[in-house]
C-alpha cells in the first residue's frame, strides 16, 4: 500500500510503484482534472503541484512520490476560484481547454515563486506547457493579470 495525500485527502493506493502519479489520479482516484496528453513530459497537460511545486505527473512514479499533491480541483473551485483561475476566466483563455488545467497549475506555481515576473520570465516559465489551439496570447495576458491580483492579495 502506498499512502498519498491529494487535495488534502489521504488515500491508500495498491498499485505497482512504477505507475505514474497521473494514472493513479485519473484511473485509481477518478480525479480527472490532470490530463493525459503525451506521457513524456512534453505537453504539461498533466501538471499538478507536489508540495506547491508544478510537476508533470506523468513523470512521477507513485513509488517515488514525496509530498502532498494538489490538482486543479484542489487549487480552486467554480465557487471559490484561485486568482489564476479568476484571471483565466476574465481573459477567456480557453478554447478546447484540454491543456488549461496544466497551464493554470504551472502558472500558479510560477507566480508563487516569481511574484513580479517580466514578460521574458512568463514566456520561459510557460513554454513547457503546450497549447495546440494557440491560446498563448491570452495565457500571457492572464498570467500578467494574475500576478497583479496576487500582489494585491
Amino acid at each position: 500500500m502506498t499512502k498519498i495525500t491529494v487535495n488534502g485527502t489521504a488515500y491508500d493506493i495498491d498499485v505497482e510503484p512504477e505507475m505514474p502519479l497521473l494514472w493513479v489520479l485519473r484511473d485509481e482516484l477518478n480525479i480527472t482534472g490532470p490530463k493525459y496528453g503525451c506521457g513524456i513530459a512534453q505537453c504539461g497537460a498533466c501538471t499538478v503541484h507536489i508540495d506547491g511545486v508544478a510537476t508533470k505527473s506523468c513523470q512521477v512514479p507513485i513509488g517515488d512520490l514525496e509530498g502532498d499533491v494538489t490538482t486543479i480541483e484542489g487549487l480552486g473551485t467554480p465557487d471559490a476560484l484561485h486568482a489564476v483561475q479568476e484571471a483565466w476566466v476574465e481573459h477567456q483563455v480557453a478554447q478546447c481547454g484540454y491543456c488549461q488545467s496544466g497551464q493554470i497549475m504551472a502558472a500558479a506555481s510560477f507566480l508563487a515563486e516569481t511574484p513580479n515576473p517580466t514578460d521574458a520570465d512568463i514566456d520561459e516559465a510557460m513554454s513547457s506547457n503546450l497549447c495546440r489551439c494557440g491560446t498563448y496570447p491570452r495565457i500571457r495576458a492572464a498570467v500578467k493579470a494574475a500576478a497583479v491580483k496576487l500582489e494585491g492579495a
Partner: protein
C-alpha cells in the same frame, strides 16, 4: 424590422412538440423533398421536429447540435437562440443533443432515426467548415446546401423567436390578458401589472398551441448578445478542471483498454505474440482487432503498458516506404495523365513567357499531423441488442451508419453521444478509434469499454494533411506582375477521405488547388493547374484543408514575382485585386500595420493574403533578425466575416489560427521511414510554444453581407507572411517547409 418570410422559402418549418413535462421548439426536417412546405401539408410520419429549444421543469435548454471542439460554437449557437427567446445569459443551459429516452422517444423517435435531422445539419455545418471536402457527402445526404453559417445565423434566431411568441400566446391564454399587452424579460412573460410568469410554467400550455408561421426578428440595434462580448458558457468549467471530456468519462462497471494496430497505415498483421502481455498486472483480456490487438485492463496505463508488450509481426504498407520515395512520386505527377483541374486560365501564359524573362521556382510542403492534445478515445457498450458510443466526433451520423454495418443492429438501437473534445483540427472526421472500440465491445458484451490511444498510437495513426509540391513560373513587365502559372501536385484529400466513408469522389479535387485558383487577383496571364498524385499515406482534412498548403504556395511565388517587378507587396496586390471585400481587407491590414513605415534596425515585415472559405484574410508579420535567429514580434490580421458574432471568441480563434499556421510552418513535419511516421510524440513534432508566440492584433471587418465562420481562414496566409518577412530580413527564399530547415528561430 423585416417580417421573416424566409420560413416558407426554406425547406424548414418551425414547429413545437409536447415532451415529458414541457415543450420543444424547432424545425421540421423533411424526409423527402416537399414542393410546398406548409405545416398543413404534413401527413403523420412525414416529418419530425428537430428541437433547438426545450422548456420543461428543469428550465430552458438550448440544443446545440454542432459539436464544440474548442471553437466556442456552443456559446454562439446559444446566443443566437437566446437573443430572440429573451433569456438571461446566466440561465442558459446547453445540451449538445445527448439522446435522452424520455425526451426523444416522445418526439423524435417516430422518425426512425434519432436526431437524424440534427446530425445532418451538424454534418452539413462541419462539411462547410472543412472546405467542401465533405460537401460531396452532403449533396447526397441533405436537402439544400446553401451557405451554412448564414443559415444557422438566421435559423436559430427564428427558432428562438417562435418559441418566445408561442410562450406569449400561452400566457395570453392562461391569463386572459391580450397578447399585445404582454412582454418578456429574462425567461419570463411580463403582465401589464408587472407580475411575471416563468417560461417553465407556460411550457405545458405552449405545447398545445400552434406556433406562429411568421415571426418578427429583433432589429440589430436591440441585440444584447450577438456581436457583444459574452462569457463562453464553458469557460468556468474549462478553468477549473471540471469539464468532462470524452477521455474523462467514468461509467459503472467500466474497464480500460488500449490498442495497437500496424503503424504502416492499413498494412495489416501477420501474427502477434502476447505471452508477456498476458502475465502483466491488471490485464483481463487480449482481443484481436482489425490490423492489431487490444488489451482490456483495469487501468489505462496498464492497458498501454501491456499493449506495448505484445510482439507484433506487421505487414508492409501499400504505399512508398519512405519520404524520399514519396517526394519522387509527387514530383513525377506533373504529367498530363495526372492532370486534375485547370480552373484558372486567364490570358495566355505561354505567350507571356516568350516575351519576358521567365522566373521559376519549386516548392515543397510536408505531411502534417493534427495531433489534438486529447488522444483519441471512446467508450462503447454493447448490451441487450443496444449499442452506445460516447466519444468526441465530427461525424456522428456516419459513425452511426458504420456501427450499424459492424454490428448488424438496427439504427434505432445505436446511440452516439457526442462528448466535449480536447481539440480536433479535422482529426475527428475519422473514426478508426471508435471502430476499434466497437470490436472490443463486441468481444466483451455487457461491459462498457473505455479505449484510449497512447500518444504514440495517436501520432502514428493520424490521417495527415498531404505533402504537396508546386512548380511556378511567371514574368514581370514595367514594374508589374504580368504572368503567373502555378502547378500544384498533391494526393487527393477528398478521394482518400470519402473512400474511407465508402463514398465515391468523382471529378477533380478542389482541395488540390483551393486558395490558389480562386484568388482575387487579375493578373493578365494567369493559370492554376492541379495534378493528382497517387494517394500513398491515407490523408484527411487538416485545419483549412487544401488552403492550408496552397495559401503558402500561391503567396510565396507571388511575392517572388512582386519582388522581381520591384513593386511593393501590398500596393501590387491592391493594384491586381478585383474583389471589393478583399481590397478593403488588404487596405485594413496596411493601415493597422502602418505598412511602409520604418520598423527600426534589424526589424522586417512580410505580408500575405488568402481568400478561403469565402473569407478574405490579410496578415502582416513583423520580425526581428537577431544574432541567434528570427524572432516573431507582431502579427496584424484583418479578416472580413460580414458580422462578428462574438468579439472575444473571434479574436481567440484568429489568434489560434495564426499560431497554428505559423507554428507548423516553422517547425513541424511528418516524415516516413519503413512506412511508419517517424514523429510519434510532441518531442519530434514541435509547433509553437509560448516563447515564440507573437502579439497578434486582430480586426474583424463587416463590409460584406454574408456571415462567415473563422476557424480556418486565418491559417493559410500566416506561413507565407512569415516567409516574406524572412526574405526581407535575409534575402533568402524559403521554398520548403518547415522553415527551420532554412533558418533558426528564437
Amino acid at each position: 424590422m423585416g417580417r421573416m418570410k424566409t420560413i416558407v422559402r426554406r425547406t424548414f418549418l418551425i414547429g413545437s412538440a409536447a415532451i415529458v413535462g414541457g415543450v420543444a421548439f424547432g424545425y421540421y426536417a423533411y424526409k423527402k423533398p416537399i414542393a410546398n412546405p406548409l405545416l398543413d401539408d404534413l401527413a403523420d410520419g412525414e416529418a419530425a421536429i428537430t428541437p433547438y429549444v426545450r422548456i420543461d421543469q428543469s428550465g430552458v435548454t438550448i440544443i446545440t447540435p454542432r459539436a464544440d471542439k474548442g471553437q466556442g460554437t456552443y456559446s454562439i449557437q446559444a446566443a443566437l437562440v437566446a437573443e430572440e427567446l429573451d433569456i438571461a445569459w446566466e440561465d442558459i443551459q446547453v445540451d449538445p443533443g445527448k439522446p435522452s429516452p424520455a425526451y426523444y422517444n416522445a418526439t423524435v423517435l417516430g422518425e426512425g432515426l434519432p436526431f437524424a435531422a440534427v446530425d445532418e445539419s451538424f454534418l452539413a455545418r462541419n462539411a462547410r467548415a472543412f472546405g467542401g471536402v465533405l460537401g460531396k457527402v452532403l449533396g447526397i445526404q441533405i436537402t439544400g446546401g446553401s451557405s451554412t453559417v448564414p443559415d444557422a445565423y438566421e435559423k436559430l434566431r427564428i427558432a428562438g423567436a417562435v418559441a418566445r411568441e408561442t410562450l406569449l400566446l400561452a400566457a395570453a391564454q392562461n391569463t386572459g390578458v391580450a397578447r399585445d399587452q404582454l412582454s418578456t424579460k429574462d425567461g419570463a412573460v411580463i403582465l401589464p401589472d408587472g407580475k411575471s410568469i416563468l417560461y417553465t410554467s407556460l411550457a405545458q400550455t405552449a405545447a398545445q398551441i400552434d406556433p406562429p408561421s411568421e415571426v418578427a426578428l429583433k432589429p440589430e440595434s436591440e441585440w444584447r448578445y450577438i456581436g457583444k462580448e459574452m462569457p463562453r458558457i464553458d469557460i468556468l468549467a474549462k478553468s477549473t478542471g471540471t469539464l468532462t471530456y470524452g477521455i474523462d468519462m467514468i461509467m459503472d462497471g467500466m474497464v480500460h483498454a488500449s490498442v495497437r494496430t500496424n503503424p504502416r497505415m492499413g498494412g495489416g498483421i501477420n501474427s502477434y505474440d502476447d505471452t508477456a502481455a498476458r502475465k502483466m498486472r491488471g490485464v483481463q483480456k487480449i482481443i484481436p482487432i482489425t490490423g492489431g490487438a487490444g488489451v482490456i485492463a483495469d487501468n489505462t496505463w496498464r492497458a498501454i503498458q501491456a499493449v506495448n508488450a505484445i510482439e507484433f509481426d506487421w505487414k508492409d504498407a501499400s504505399y512508398p516506404k519512405n519520404s524520399n520515395l514519396m517526394w519522387k512520386t509527387v514530383a513525377s505527377s506533373f504529367t498530363p495523365k495526372h492532370k486534375d483541374s485547370r480552373l484558372k486560365n486567364e490570358g495566355d501564359v505561354e505567350a507571356a513567357f516568350k516575351e519576358n524573362k521567365v522566373i521559376k521556382a519549386e516548392y515543397r510542403i510536408p505531411y502534417l499531423a493534427h495531433a489534438p492534445l486529447e488522444p483519441m478515445n471512446a467508450i462503447v457498450l454493447l448490451k441487450d441488442g443496444r449499442l452506445d458510443i460516447w466519444t468526441g466526433t465530427q461525424i456522428p451520423l456516419n459513425m452511426l451508419q458504420t456501427a450499424e454495418k459492424m454490428t448488424g443492429l438496427p439504427a434505432e438501437n445505436i446511440h452516439v453521444h457526442v462528448q466535449m473534445m480536447g481539440g480536433s483540427f479535422g482529426r475527428r472526421l475519422e473514426d478508426q478509434y471508435v471502430r476499434q472500440t466497437i470490436e472490443l465491445a463486441q468481444a466483451m458484451e455487457g461491459t462498457p469499454i473505455k479505449m484510449t490511444w497512447s500518444r504514440e498510437e495517436d501520432m502514428t495513426h493520424d490521417f495527415p494533411r498531404p505533402m504537396q509540391m508546386s512548380s511556378a513560373w511567371g514574368t514581370v513587365k514595367d514594374g508589374k506582375v504580368e504572368s503567373y502559372d502555378l502547378a500544384i501536385a498533391a494526393p487527393s484529400t477528398t478521394s482518400s477521405q470519402l473512400g474511407r466513408l465508402g463514398l465515391p469522389a468523382a471529378g477533380p479535387d478542389i482541395a488540390i488547388v483551393a486558395a490558389a485558383w480562386d484568388q482575387p487577383f487579375a493578373i493578365p496571364h494567369h493559370r492554376v493547374t492541379g495534378y493528382r498524385a497517387p494517394e500513398m499515406v491515407p490523408i484527411s482534412s487538416w485545419r483549412s484543408v487544401g488552403a492550408s498548403g496552397n495559401g503558402f504556395l500561391y503567396n510565396a511565388f507571388l511575392d517572388e514575382l512582386i519582388h522581381e517587378a520591384g513593386a511593393d507587396p501590398l500596393m501590387e496586390r491592391l493594384r491586381l485585386c478585383n474583389h471589393d471585400l478583399s481590397r478593403k481587407t488588404l487596405e485594413a491590414v496596411g493601415e493597422m500595420s502602418n505598412w511602409g513605415s520604418d520598423l527600426g534596425p534589424n526589424r522586417f515585415r512580410g505580408l500575405a493574403f488568402s481568400l478561403s472559405f469565402g473569407v478574405p484574410v490579410a496578415e502582416v508579420i513583423e520580425i526581428t533578425n537577431t544574432q541567434d535567429g528570427i524572432k516573431l514580434d507582431k502579427v496584424f490580421v484583418a479578416c472580413e466575416v460580414g458580422k462578428v458574432l462574438d468579439p472575444i471568441n473571434f479574436e481567440n480563434q484568429i489568434q489560434g489560427g495564426v499560431i497554428w499556421g505559423l507554428g507548423h510552418a516553422m517547425a513541424a513535419e511528418l516524415t516516413y521511414d519503413d512506412g511508419i511516421a517517424e514523429q510519434n510524440n510532441y518531442d519530434g513534432y514541435e509547433s509553437m510554444r509560448m516563447y515564440q508566440a507573437p502579439d497578434i492584433i486582430v480586426r474583424g471587418l463587416e463590409n460584406g453581407t454574408d456571415v462567415r465562420g473563422i476557424g480556418e481562414p486565418p491559417v493559410p496566409p500566416a506561413a507565407p507572411a512569415l516567409a516574406a518577412a524572412i526574405f526581407a530580413a535575409t534575402g533568402e527564399r524559403i521554398r520548403e517547409l518547415p522553415m527551420n530547415k532554412t533558418v533558426d528561430f528564437v
